[in-house]
Amino acid sequence: MSVDLKQFHQVFIEESFEGLDAMENALMELNPEAPDSETINTIFRSAHSIKGGAGTFGFKRLADFTHILETLLDQIRSNSRGLDTNLVNLFLQSVDCMREMLDLIQQDSEEYPESARELKQKFEEVLNGDSKVASKPAQNNEQQNEDKPVCNILSRYKTWSIQFHPHSDIIRSGNDPLRILRELSRLGKLNCTQVYFDAPGLAEFDPDTCYLAWDLELRTSADLSEIEEVFEWVIDDSSVEIKEIKSDSVAHTRVNFKPHQDIYLSGNDPYRIIEELLINFEVIAIDVITDQLPELKSFNSEHCYLSWSIDLAGSFSQDDVLKAFEWVVDEAEIGFEKIEADEAKEPNQSDAENETDSKPANSNKTQAASDKAPSSGRKSTSSDASSIRVGIDKIDNLINMVGELVITQSMLGQLSTDFEMSKIPKLMEGLSQLELNTRELQESVMRIRMLPISFAFSRFPRMVRDLGQRLGKKIHLEMRGENTELDKTVMEKIGDPLVHLVRNAVDHGIELPEQRRAAGKDEEGHIILNAYHQGGNVNIEIIDDGKGLDRNVLIAKAIDKGLLSEQDAFALSDEQAFDLIFHAGFSTAKEVSDVSGRGVGMDVVKKNIHALNGNIELHSKMGEGSKIKISLPLTLAILDGQLVSVCDQTYIFPIVSIIESMQYKREAVNDIAGGCSVFMLRDEYVPVIKLHDIFNISKEKNSESQELMVVVESEGEKVGLVVDELQAQQQVVIKSLEENYHRVEGVSGATILGDGTVALILDIPGIVRLAGIDKVNEQVRELTFAHKNQEKKSA
């Protein structure tokens, strides 16, 4: 039976990742001075499981790597080795390394991470520090298996004498001597030469005790180790003696076997017949007679040209021998010859070897090839489809919901069979029930994609610990609201920005212990990760009690980088000053450390969060710390949208991007250079984009007076979009355009409205790019500034 192990790979990889998480957590918890044995056990179990699985599923390198880890952990577990911080760090590194290896396995890559080699060497050094018990024995074992001697056909079959005297308690261990005998008989031909039955009188007879013993004779091609394997589980307690019975070259019988030349056509194989003789008789020599072989040109591959002479020792009847030839005896020539002891001739072994060995070798090859074919064919389908673990309660809820939907549906169905006007209230009731069911179902389905944010948070304790150690800072990390749920896709995309922000907090926020002491703070810095739901959003806060942002440093830096003029700097509010760090090319670290400031700046963080329809805010107070608040939509699949109409078209604005809406007054609009208009919105100018221009919709002129303007935020700038009408606000399900059509600038997706029409969802930054407004912003800012000065003067 062949089982395709590939189908278990995904499960193995997932559970290994989980195991590694558990291992990491346990390592973090571990106090090297006084290790808790249960914690050590957890770590050991993880390594052990990964090793077992890796070996079984054929990931040899991972198995080798975890083997050495396991050996070390086993020594620690049994208290034969102490533990220190250095070793814990090494283990933590190995967790990362195994993660990397698992990633590679998932990608079907044959690569071996360099770090694994280094770590393995380090572990070996630790192991060899006091003894030479490295992974040698495992390697030796394998070699033995590979170099299994190819024995020739004669020496393969031997007769063994086996004395099996089981321990009297054998049955109590669940080992049944009968099963062992049965197993032996599978190896070859088993004869029982003697049975001992040494039972006491019936009064003392204990049915749980084994009183039997056997002397056996086994004729088999199996070697000693295979026979011993049968006794593997009992050999320590029972008395088992296995000896080879050498056959003397005494008088024997020679069987001359000349098969019919068409023997192959009957489906018989002379080789199989000889094999049978080898099993049942003591064959001492086989000679292949090849003189009938024709010239190559007249050779017919379907014919058998060979004949054999087989020497059998021992006593037997000719009929027994003929049984092996039963199916071919009528066509073949078979003769028996008695050979005296001194005539025993040296068998022409080389021919016999060539003949008999070539066949099994061939058949092995074809088998190997057929084994290989399916696995290589399946490779392409190896699943990188990520899976999701869903709590049973969610599934139950869903099933419940569907049940209710079915009830409502059947209720409505029944209503329609004999409908009268008087039943309209009932219909309305049914429809509202349906609406309720649908909404609940939608919510339940969305909840399936929801994962607790601890998935994203879990890496931080380790990261903060490692960074803190490296930078010489004492940091306490507190995580709150770890059970706050978030869409899986959002979770995956928020990971990197969060890492960046936490790194920043550790690197730039928290001060060194002595600085903190000098500032009158606790030596240990605090970082809080807080997640909570608010409205339709998830908020994540990263709070540190470090030195906070220095407004003046930020402004000086911005001026230095040419992001800001000195004049503007004067007018900036604190908030605007802090916002500077989100500008591209802004890094306040004096020197680029390897912890943060590695090119990915806060601008990228902001961009990533905006790409998720999220928002990021920063509050900071000099000397007291900073707080970064990220708000994200719960899911990417559904969007809170504002429906607007432009002529007869409907578009959808993401509500998060809308700041306000107002009447579009022609008199408040100025045209400025660059073909752009700006709108005077209270005391600032806002560039105006007419949606019908962007989408090339022809428009009747007189309608302009009723136009509305929606003020939206695009990458930190306000922009006014002119539309005809505002319609309802509703949740819309986002359908990707890229998947069904192709990417369209200015449009992030589409949705289907209640009446079945398709509406496009606007991508605000894209629209702004389309209108070419982003270049005008500088001008607009100047205008606003000038306007403010004017106001001051007039005041």
């Binding site: 089982v3 189908q7 499960v11 699985g53 079984t56 599923f57 080992n175 749980d208």
Partner: protein, 120 residues
């Protein structure tokens, strides 16, 4: 066809064992640790074979074997443990607890079938 109880905390190993045995026509019950296995062993009668991992949370394989052997129904039931080559002392510990035999990890489905063929 035999009724087999497969105990392992690793889901992939358990699935592999279970899939292989089911493929060979056996009736397989799965448990993820010793406690669960013991509960299952108590509620099932006529189990022909128990295959158990050693290192498991809650109740490890050795304790499971001891508990099982103490049950009248499991006095003679073959119990095989899954071990790794580094666990030679585990083998004797397991035997002392009453294990019938062992299967050394890593093993492939064919080896598994061949081994359980010894006891059922």
């Amino acid at each position: 066809m035999a009724k087999i109880l497969a105990v392992d905390d690793s889901a992939s190993m358990r699935q592999m064992v279970s899939f292989t045995l089911k493929g060979a026509g056996h009736d397989v019950y799965e448990a993820s640790d010793g406690v669960e296995a013991l509960k299952m062993a108590n509620s099932q009668s006529g189990v022909d074979l128990v295959i158990s991992d050693i290192n498991m949370p809650n109740m490890d394989g050795i304790s499971l074997i001891k508990e099982l052997r103490a049950l009248p129904d499991y006095k003679f039931t073959p119990i095989l443990m899954l071990t790794t080559e580094s666990g030679s002392d585990k083998k004797s510990e397991g035997k002392a607890a009453g294990a019938t035999g062992w299967i050394v990890k890593p093993f492939n489905p064919d080896q598994l079938l061949a081994t359980i063929g010894k006891v059922i």
